[in-house]
Each structure stands twice: as C-alpha cells, then as structure tokens.
Amino acid sequence: MSVVALKKAPPPVKQAPAQVVPLPVAARSGQWLQKSVAWVVSSVLPPLVVLLVLLAIWQIAFSGPTAGLPTPTKVWAESSELILDPFFVYGSQDIGLGWRVLTSLERVAYGFGLAAIAGVLMGAVIGQSALMMRGFDPIFQVLRTVPPLAWLPISLAAFMDSRPSAIFVIFITAIWPIIINTAAGVRAIPQDYRNVAAVLRLNQVEFFWKIMVPSAAPYIFSGLRIGVGLSWLAIVAAEMLTGGVGIGFFIWDAWNSSRLTDIIVALIYIGVTGFVLDRMVGWLGAVISRGTAT
C-alpha cells in the first residue's frame, strides 16, 4: 500500500510547481519525520537502553570462572543457530524452535478455543440469573486458584494419553477467568438494552448475538486475554511433564542434556510468543468492542 502511495504522490507536485502545493507537502513530510524520530526516542529507545544495561550486568556478573550460568556472549556463541534459523528440520526430534512453538501453539489453540466457546456460553447463562451466579461463583473462585499442573494427574488418569491431557489442562486453566468475566459483563448489560430486546421480542439466540455479545465484549475480551496468558503458562509446564515436540519439552530435554544456553534461548521464545498472544487478543478485543462504549 505504501508503494502505491509513493508512486502516486509525485504528479500533483509536478503539475503545480509554482503554486502553494509543494510547500505544505514538504512541511508535512518534515513533520512526519520529526514525529517518527520523536516516537523512536520516546518509545523504542528506553526499553532498548534498559535491555542493553541488563545484558551488560548479566555479562559482568557471570563472567567469573565459577559462574553457574552462561553469559550472553556464550549464549550467542553456542546457540545462535536456534535464534537465527527458527525453522530448520534435521530430524523428527531435531527441529527449530519456531516449529516447537507452533506445535505448542496448536495445543493452545485447541484448549483455549474450547475454553473460549464453553466459557462464554457458560458465563452468559450464569450471568443471566442472579441465583445461578450465587450458586456457581464461589465454586469458580475456588477452582480458578488451582495451579495448572495440579490438574495434570487427574487429566492423565481420565484421558490416559498425553496429548488430550495437555489440551485439557489448558482448557481447565483458561476457562475460569473467561466464565467469570463474561458473567460479570452479562450482569452489567444496561436495563435499557434489555427493555429494547423485550419490546422487540428478541428470542434467546437473537438476544445473545445482538445484545449480549456486543454489550459484554469488553468484559469477555479481558477474560479471554487473561485466559490466553494462563494457557501459555500451562502448556509450557504441561509439556515438560508429558513430553512430545513442544517448546516446554524442549526445555526439559535441554536441561537433561545440560544445554543451558538453549534453555535461555527457549525462554526468550516463550516470552515473545506470550507477549504476542496477549497483544493479539487485546487488539482483537479493541477492534470488536470499538463501538460498545457510547
């Protein structure tokens, strides 16, 4: 799109060389440049400086001969291939971290997707009734504090296979904040909208799609955002125990073969992926619930 814009921009300038057109254009592009420089200075520079300082401290702190952890330069020297080429395939178990992250993400997609659908539906039903809310809420508040891995043994016993167990752990971890937030959002639907729905005689399904989902969207998406973060936490931990191909298992495998530098690279992958997931759900929520606030 920017290429098209660049190609189209020159003609008006040429057509009216003696008029006022060139001046404001020049001024505007100068302003744009100034703005982007200001943005880099104010938003990109500070985290970059902090990162460099932290790396320097790390380098100095672990430079001694008896240090237990590798320094940043050592990580780069030994594991740069993992950083530079995330998608290599040397064998069925020897693949790039990009592939591993994708495998883990696939599990998250199943578990979190199921949790999102079930959580929103259950939250909608529970939020509609004060009695249901009173009955269910204390139970949810207790269950949501159970750590993801505590569900794993029960899950393994129930499914007797590692793959569905890992997906179930994600599901059960992510669903509580989704239910709780959706129910809160449904309870917060203004009486006015309910009256409109009543006068129009909207049925349950129409009410769900036309009133409930748009009105509760900000709540639903904050639940989904918490849920996706928890899912990512859960999958990394679950994979360490269940094995397989994912990023969590990679860390466990690297620990067992004493490849500390690989673990550090994997941690960076996990962090960046979790950050991207969080921002994606946040962005989606912002786009979808754009019109909800008056």
């Binding site: 009256n195 409109v196 009543a198 006068v199 129009l200 036309k210 748009p214 009105s215 754009r290 019109g291």
Partner: protein, 269 residues
C-alpha cells in the same frame, strides 16, 4: 370521540405494588382510563408519582398487580412491538449505526411480510420521517442528543405500533431542541394518526400535544386525579397558541391541579 365500538386501550382498575422483602409499597392504585384509537394522551404528574410505572405497565415491561389492561380487547401481559416505546434516554445500541438500530427493529417485525428491498425502503422512510437520513451511517455516539431521540422515535415508529408510548422523551433536551421535536411528533401524529401516550412533566408540552391530559396525584398509591380535554383544533401552532384563550385556560387548569391541589411535597422517603 365516542364512535369507537369497543374500547381501544382499556385500563381497568389497575393497581401496582412492589414487594421488597416484607415491605409492600403500593405505587399505583385503581387506575381507570380508556384511550381511543388515534388519540394523543399526555400523562403528567410530579416526579415519583408513578407515571413511568404506568407506561411500563402499558408497555408490558412490568406486570400489573391487580386489575386488567387490554388493547383491542386482548390482555396485555408481555412487551411487544405493537406497543413500541420511545425511552427516556434513547436506548439506542451504541455499537450499531443509526440505520442498523432501526434495521434491528424492522427485521424483527417485518421479516415474514416484507422483502429485503421493502425493508430497506421502510427503514429509510422512517428515518426520513424524523429527518435523519443524512446520519444513517453514523453511530449514536457521533450524533447529538436530539438526533438520538429522533432515531429512537424512528425505531419505535418503524415497528408500526398500535400504540406509541413515549416516556419523557424530551426531558433531557434543551428547550429549542425540544420544541423542534415536539413539532416533529405533532407532524407525525397528524400524518400517521397513531395512538400516542406521552409521559411528561412539562405543562406546555402536555397542552400543546395532547387531546387529553391525564393528571396524576402524588404517590404513594398514586391515581388519576383529573382528566382534561384539550379542545384546541389541530394543526396547532405554538406561537399562535400562546395567546389563545383555550390554550391559556387548559394550561391554567393543569397548573392549578399540579401546584394548588396536588402540590409536590418532598416526601419522607
């Protein structure tokens, strides 16, 4: 006004009380009112007299405690599009455009009887009636309060209601905007001949718009104190009316009711 064979909207000895724990509060007591087809009725009273509750009863949004409410001989016990409501605070859905807000109502009411093209025409026709076609694609947050209320009216009218219920629709608007919208409502009433019931606390508005003014006594257990026939011929013009004896007399009658016989006392609530 007595030519209707059956009573069109008949409110028969309706009482409404709310129960809060063991405490029962009677809000409305023994309301009897018959409204003819095509009539414009204003309901006026001090705040807290239960006039909005009465409107909610007619709308079916609240259930009557005792008594009966019938529209064309049929009992009213649930809300429905044949008794469309223009709400006090517009109640447009903020995530839908003006057009889509009306469309929601039109699609629901006419999905079986009008084609897609007919429904589109009907939406535009109703927006045109309140002069809002220019903002069809705007969201409620992007238009003024008066415009939102116009769209609220268009949405209610688009349901082709038997009775249009207006719950203090212009209460939150400034005087000039209110005058514009009152004229718009009068114009619509003249053109379509709907039955309209409007809650208001504005004496001038009640006299200007209504065929009859229903005056409510103060609560608790409020009831209809008096009903005034406003015999002013239509079309009515607000400027010409200002000095007309009929208008002045009607206005005085309402004012006397509200401020002499049923003065608003800051109740010990």
């Amino acid at each position: 006004m007595t030519m209707a064979p059956a009573k069109y909207l008949h409110i028969d000895r309706v009482c409404k009380s709310f129960t809060n724990g063991s405490k029962v509060t009677e809000v409305l007591s023994d309301i009897r009112l018959t409204i003819d087809k095509g009539e414009f009725v204003s309901i006026i009273g001090h705040s807290g007299c239960g006039k909005s509750t009465l409107l909610n009863l007619i709308a079916g949004l609240t259930d009557v405690t005792t008594g009966a409410l019938k529209l064309e001989g049929r009992e009213v016990n649930a809300p429905g599009p044949e008794r469309a409501v223009v709400f006090q605070n517009h109640s447009l859905l903020p995530w839908l455009s003006v057009y889509d807000n009306v469309k929601l109502a039109v699609n629901k009411v006419f999905s079986g009887t009008k084609s897609r093209a007919q429904r589109h025409d009907w939406i535009m026709q109703n927006l045109d009636l309140v002069q809002m076609t220019h903002a069809a694609d705007k969201r409620p947050g992007e238009i003024s309060g008066g415009m939102r209320q116009r769209v609220g009216i268009a949405r209610a009218l688009s349901m082709e209601p038997k009775v249009l219920l207006l719950d203090e629709p212009f209460g939150a608007l400034d005087a000039l905007t209110r005058a514009h919208l009152q004229d718009a409502v009068m114009d619509i009433h003249a053109r379509l001949g709907n039955t309209m019931i409007m809650i208001t606390h504005d004496v001038d508005e009640a006299v200007l718009l209504a065929d009859r003014i229903v005056m409510m006594t103060n609560g608790p257990a409020a009831t209809i104190g008096e009903v005034l026939e406003v015999g002013i011929p239509r079309p009515r013009d607000r400027i010409a009316l200002a000095s007309q004896p009929d208008y002045v007399r009607a206005r005085e009658a309402v004012l006397r009711f509200l401020y002499e016989r049923h003065r608003f006392v800051e109740a010990a609530e």
